[in-house]
C-alpha cells in the first residue's frame, strides 16, 4: 500500500450516486432520518386536513369519504413512514458508533432496506391521485371494510405494506447481526448503552410480528382477488379472525415504536443529570418483560367483540401487568435525575417532557385496560387522546430529543439553542392544547373517525384544532434549526455535552466517514 493512501480515510463519493449506492451506516442513517422527517410532514399535513375539518361542526372542507382517506393515510404514514424509519435511522447512525463497530454487519442489505421505502410510500401515496381514492378503512384496516367494501386501491396498499415489512425485517436482521457480531472486544451485552439494548429487543419484536402483518395483508389480497374467504363470513370465514391476527402484530408494534424511545431517553437523562443511569440492569429486564408481555395482550383492543368473561379478565390483567416494568423505567429515570446536577438543554427538555407526558399516556392506557370501562371508552376520542399521548410526546418527542442530542456529533456544529428551546416550548404547548381536550371529548362520547359531530363537542374540538395547527407549524422551526445546524454553527467538541459518556463521544465531531476501523479498547 502506498503511504499517501494509508493516511487519509476515503470520504464519501460525490453527487447523487453517493446516496443511491452508499453502504455507509452514517449515510444510510441520514437518509432514513430525512425520509422520516419528510413523511412526518406529509402525515402531519393529513392530520391538519382532519383538524381543519373538525374545527367546527358540519362539513366545511372535505367530503366524508376523503376525510376517511385522511385518517387512514395519516395513521399509516406516521406509523410506518415517520416513527419507525426515524428509529431505524437513529439505529444506523448510533449503534455502530456505540458498540465500536466499523459499520453495520450487512451494509449492502442496509442500502436495500432503505431504498425500498420511498417506493413503498410513493405507491401508497399515489392512491390519493387515483379515481377510487386512497384507502379509507382506517390504519387498522379491519375486514370486511378493507376487503368486501374496500376501494380498488386496496391492492396498492397491500403491496406497499409488503414492501414496508420487507424493509423492516431486513433492517432488524441487520441490527441484530451488528449487535451480536460486531461489538468491540470487551463490550459485553451488559455493558452496552441502553439505546443499543432497546434496539436489540425491538429488532426481535419486528422480526416476530412484521411477517404476521405480511401474512394478514396476503390473506386480504387472496380474499379480494382470488375468491378465498379468510375474513368473509358468507364463505365460512370470520371478520373477527382478522382482528386477532392484526392485533397479534399490532400490539407488539406499539412497543416497537416506544422501546427505542426508552433507549434514547435513557441516554439523554444521565448526560444532563451528570450521573450514571439509575438501575441499568433493571432497565434491561424491564425492557425484556415489556417485550414479552406485548405478545399476550393483543385482545385488549377487542374487548367489545364478544369475548367470554375469562378472556376479558386474562387480557385485562395481562395488560395491567405491563404497567409494572414501565413503572420501573419511569422510576429509574426520575431517580437518575434525583440529586443530579441538571441542566436543561433542548434534548433534556424533550426527554423530561417525554417522561411526564408518556406517563400520562400510560395512565390513560391503564384506564382503557379495564375491560368494563373500555366498553364506554371504546372507539371514542379518549382512545385517540391515549395513543397520541404515547406516540407524539412519547415516540416523536424522543426522536426530536435524539436529533438535538446527536446533531452536533453528526454535523460537527452546535445547533441554535434559543431556536431549539423555542421549538420545544411551541411543541410542548401545542401538543397539550391539541390532545388534552380530546380526553374530555372521548369521555363525553365523541366517536373517533367522524368528519362531523354533535354541537356539544364544538368548543373542545376548536381548541384541539388550534393546538394542532400550532404544533404542526412549529415543526417548521425544527426543520429550520436542523438546516441551520447542517450549514454551520459553533464548532462542537468531541464530547459535545459535559456529562456525555460512551464511545460515540470519544470520536471527533463531526464523526468521520469511517469510525472504529480498528476496534476501540473497552475498559
Amino acid at each position: 500500500m502506498s503511504a499517501g493512501h494509508d493516511d487519509h480515510q476515503h470520504g464519501p463519493a460525490k453527487g447523487l450516486t453517493r446516496w443511491l449506492y452508499t453502504t455507509n451506516h452514517k449515510d444510510i442513517g441520514t437518509l432514513y432520518l430525512w425520509f422520516s422527517f419528510a413523511m412526518f410532514l406529509l402525515g402531519g399535513s393529513f392530520a391538519l386536513v382532519i383538524r381543519a375539518e373538525l374545527f367546527q361542526p358540519g362539513l366545511q372542507f372535505v367530503a366524508p369519504d376523503f376525510f376517511n382517506q385522511m385518517t387512514t393515510m395519516h395513521g399509516l404514514v406516521m406509523v410506518f413512514g415517520a416513527v419507525m424509519p426515524a428509529f431505524v435511522g437513529l439505529a444506523n447512525w448510533m449503534i455502530p458508533m456505540m458498540i465500536g463497530a466499523p459499520d453495520m454487519a450487512l451494509p449492502r442489505m442496509n442500502n436495500w432496506s432503505f431504498w425500498i421505502l420511498p417506493f413503498a410510500f410513493a405507491m401508497l401515496s399515489s392512491t390519493l391521485l387515483m379515481e377510487a381514492g386512497a384507502p379509507n378503512f382506517g390504519w387498522t384496516f379491519y375486514a370486511p371494510l378493507s376487503t368486501t367494501y374496500a376501494p380498488s386501491t386496496v391492492t396498492f396498499f397491500i403491496f406497499a405494506v409488503h414492501l414496508m415489512g420487507a424493509s423492516s425485517i431486513m433492517g432488524s436482521i441487520n441490527i441484530i447481526a451488528t449487535i451480536l457480531n460486531l461489538r468491540a472486544p470487551g463490550m459485553t451485552l451488559m455493558k452496552m448503552p441502553m439505546f443499543v439494548w432497546t434496539w436489540l429487543i425491538t429488532a426481535y419484536l419486528l422480526l416476530a410480528v412484521m411477517p404476521v402483518l405480511a401474512g394478514v395483508v396476503t390473506m386480504m389480497l387472496f380474499d379480494v382477488h382470488f375468491g378465498t374467504s379468510f375474513f368473509n363470513a358468507a364463505g365460512g370465514g370470520d371478520p373477527v379472525l382478522f382482528q386477532h391476527v392484526f392485533w397479534f402484530f399490532g400490539h407488539p408494534e406499539v412497543y416497537i415504536m416506544i422501546l427505542p424511545a426508552f433507549g434514547v431517553v435513557s441516554e439523554i437523562v444521565p448526560t444532563f443529570s451528570r450521573k450514571r443511569l439509575f438501575g441499568y440492569d433493571s432497565m434491561v429486564y424491564a425492557t425484556s418483560s415489556i417485550a414479552f408481555l406485548s405478545f399476550i395482550v393483543w385482545a385488549h383492543h377487542m374487548f367489545t367483540t364478544g369475548m367470554p368473561l375469562a378472556g376479558e379478565l386474562f387480557f385485562m390483567y395481562a395488560t395491567m401487568l405491563i404497567a409494572v416494568p414501565t413503572g420501573v423505567k419511569v422510576f429509574n429515570w426520575v431517580s437518575t435525575m434525583f440529586r443530579g446536577s441538571l441542566t436543561f438543554e433542548t434534548p433534556m427538555l424533550f426527554a423530561i417532557a417525554f417522561v411526564v407526558l408518556f406517563t400520562m399516556g400510560g395512565f390513560t392506557g391503564l384506564m382503557l385496560a379495564i375491560a368494563p370501562a373500555d366498553f364506554q371508552y371504546h372507539d371514542t376520542y379518549f382512545v385517540v387522546a391515549h395513543f397520541h399521548y404515547v406516540l407524539v410526546p412519547g415516540a416523536v418527542f424522543s426522536i426530536m430529543a435524539a436529533a438535538y442530542y446527536w446533531l452536533p456529533k453528526w454535523t460537527g456544529h452546535m445547533y441554535d439553542e434559543a431556536l431549539g428551546k423555542m421549538h420545544f416550548w411551541l411543541s410542548f404547548v401545542g401538543i397539550n392544547v391539541l390532545f388534552f381536550p380530546q380526553h374530555f371529548l372521548g369521555l363525553a362520547g365523541m366517536p373517533r373517525r367522524i368528519p362531523d359531530y354533535a354541537l356539544q363537542f364544538a368548543d373542545f374540538n376548536m381548541i384541539s384544532s388550534i393546538g394542532g395547527f400550532l404544533f404542526g407549524i412549529s415543526q417548521l422551526v425544527f426543520l429550520f434549526v436542523v438546516i441551520k445546524c447542517v450549514r454551520g454553527g459553533r464548532q462542537a467538541t468531541a464530547q459535545v455535552w459535559e456529562g456525555a459518556k460512551g464511545l460515540e463521544w470519544e470520536i471527533p465531531s463531526p464523526a468521520p466517514y469511517h469510525t472504529f476501523t480498528t476496534p476501540p479498547a473497552i475498559k
Binding site: M1, A3, H5, D6, D7, Q9, H10, T23, P102, D103, M104, A105, L106, P107, R108, I169, S172, I173, I176, A177, L180, N181, L182, L207, A208, V209, M210, P211, V212, L213, A214, G215, V216, M219, G227, F230, A233, A234, G235, G236, D238, V240, L241, H244, V245, F248, F249, M307, P308, H514, T517, T518
Partner: protein, 212 residues
C-alpha cells in the same frame, strides 16, 4: 507511515464491513437463523387461521354450529322432563335484497326430540341470485348442544327472479344440555354471493350449487 491494523486501508466497504472471513461466516449464520425466524412467523400468521377455528370449536366460542349431524339410536332418547325454548331469527346482510324470515318464531322442544321447522325466502329481484345463510347461536355455550341433521345452510340457495321457497331445518337439542340453559336463539344471516358464481357473460354457472 501509520500502522493500520487492518489489511484494507479504505476500511469498511460492503465486502469488508463484516471483517475477516470468520466474521462473515458468523454473520451468515445469524442471518440464516433470523431469516428462518421471519419465515416461521409468516407461517405462524397463517397457522392462526386453523388455530382460531380449533379454539372456537373446543370452547364453543363464537356461537358457530357444527355441520350435518348423523342422528343415531342413542340420540333418540327423549328427555320429557325438560323443555327448551328455541327461538329463530333471520336477517339480511348489508346489500341483500331477499325477503327472509322464519315461518315459526319459536318452538318449545324436549331434549332429544327431532324437530322440523322451515324458513321462508323470496328473491324479489329481476335476476337469478345465489345466497348463503350463516348461522349463529346465542348464548354461545349452547352452540355445542344444538345438532342439525338437515339445514338449508349446508348448501347455497339459488333462486330465480321472483321465486319463493320454504327451506327446511331439522334439529334436536342434545340431552346433555346444561340445566341452566332453558332458552336459546338460532340466528341466520343471509349473504348475497351471486357475484362468486357470475360467468363472464353474466349468467350463473351451472355447477354453482355444490354442497358447502
Amino acid at each position: 507511515m501509520a500502522e493500520p491494523q487492518i489489511t484494507e486501508p479504505e476500511a469498511p466497504s460492503a465486502s469488508t464491513a463484516g471483517g475477516s472471513h470468520r466474521a462473515r461466516r458468523k454473520n451468515s449464520r445469524v442471518v440464516l437463523k433470523l431469516l428462518a425466524t421471519a419465515l416461521a412467523m409468516f407461517g405462524f400468521g397463517f397457522a392462526l387461521v386453523p388455530l382460531y377455528d380449533v379454539l372456537c370449536d373446543i370452547t364453543g366460542l363464537n356461537g358457530k354450529t357444527g355441520g350435518r349431524y348423523e342422528y343415531s339410536a342413542v340420540d333418540s332418547r327423549v328427555n320429557t322432563e325438560r323443555l327448551v325454548t328455541v327461538q329463530f331469527m333471520a336477517q339480511n346482510n348489508a346489500g341483500m335484497s331477499w325477503v327472509f324470515k322464519p315461518n315459526v318464531k319459536e318452538v318449545r322442544v324436549h331434549p332429544g326430540q327431532l324437530t322440523e321447522v322451515s324458513f321462508y325466502a323470496r328473491n324479489p329481484s329481476a335476476g337469478d341470485m345465489v345466497a348463503q345463510a350463516v348461522p349463529s347461536v346465542s348464548p354461545f355455550q349452547a352452540a355445542d348442544y344444538l345438532h342439525k341433521t338437515e339445514c338449508f345452510c349446508f348448501t347455497q340457495q339459488r333462486l330465480g327472479a321472483g321465486v319463493e321457497v320454504d327451506m327446511p331445518l331439522t334439529f334436536f337439542i342434545d340431552q346433555d344440555i346444561p340445566e341452566e340453559i332453558t332458552k336459546l336463539t338460532l340466528s341466520y344471516s343471509l349473504f348475497d354471493i351471486t357475484a362468486n358464481f357470475k360467468r363472464a357473460d353474466g349468467s350463473l354457472g351451472v355447477g354453482a350449487l355444490s354442497a358447502n
